[in-house]
């Protein structure tokens, strides 16, 4: 059981590392559209990491956080995209 938990945590760490790789796109750009997508990819990776951590610690309340997180991630992408298209139309 301990091995299973360690494996889950290791996979979660791997997904966070994927998010770190996606950060390169946030830095490099070249356009802001690339950055929006990169932040979204990083967010999605961390949602997966949260669910894996929830499974490893056997804490079902963490899944609620993952839900809020996934919603926020979507909302952020929409906000950035709207801002890009029509400057100021955030709300």
């Amino acid at each position: 059981m301990v091995e299973f938990e360690t494996a889950l945590l290791a996979i979660a760490a791997a997904f966070v590392l994927f998010a770190v790789v996606a950060l390169y796109r946030v830095y490099a750009g070249p356009t802001n559209h690339d950055r929006v997508i990169a932040v979204n990819v990083a967010g999605t990776n961390t949602v997966i990491a949260i669910t894996l951590v929830a499974a490893a610690y056997q804490e079902s309340t963490f899944l609620d956080v993952a839900l809020v997180y996934a919603l926020l991630n979507f909302l952020l992408s929409i906000a950035f995209s709207k801002f890009n298209v029509e400057r100021g139309g955030v709300l």
Partner: protein
Amino acid sequence: MPITLVEAALLTFVLGCALGAALLEDTLAAVMAFAAYSLGVSVLWLVLQAPDVGLTEAAVGAGIMTVLFLLALSNTVSPDADRLFEPIRWRTVALVGGFVLLIGATVPALPAIGDPNSPVVAGEVSQYYLANAYAETEVRNAVTAVLAAYRGFDTLGEGVVVFSAVVVTLSVLRREVVA
């Protein structure tokens, strides 16, 4: 306890995001890096077994702060960025680095995570709440009991502050939001 693989990966992510938020010349890109930073920090709270703090960080740091930044950007004019990164002011780096080292030097003095003999847990006040919180308030979570019952007026004051901040912000922006 040495830091785990997940924590190391998360810290790398958070540090990368923070550097991006500080150094990127384009303000919109910096705001995006900051949003990613907030999401990373909230996962870090989760891994440290504080899901309520993580939720608050995600909602306030990533949600409200980002929207506020975007609103500020839309009401100001920023020049087009002609380079990718800001020039680094080394004097500021030295000052901030020295401060970080100063704070970091106090970290080894902290008690271990979950240490039952640490003053925070073993102190008289904590023991009183842990022993009597349920009998006096019938709230199962001791932290919630302290927040909502023992210092309820304080929390009400905080609510007033947040409410008036929202009202003032919306009146400054001259925009009605039905959310």
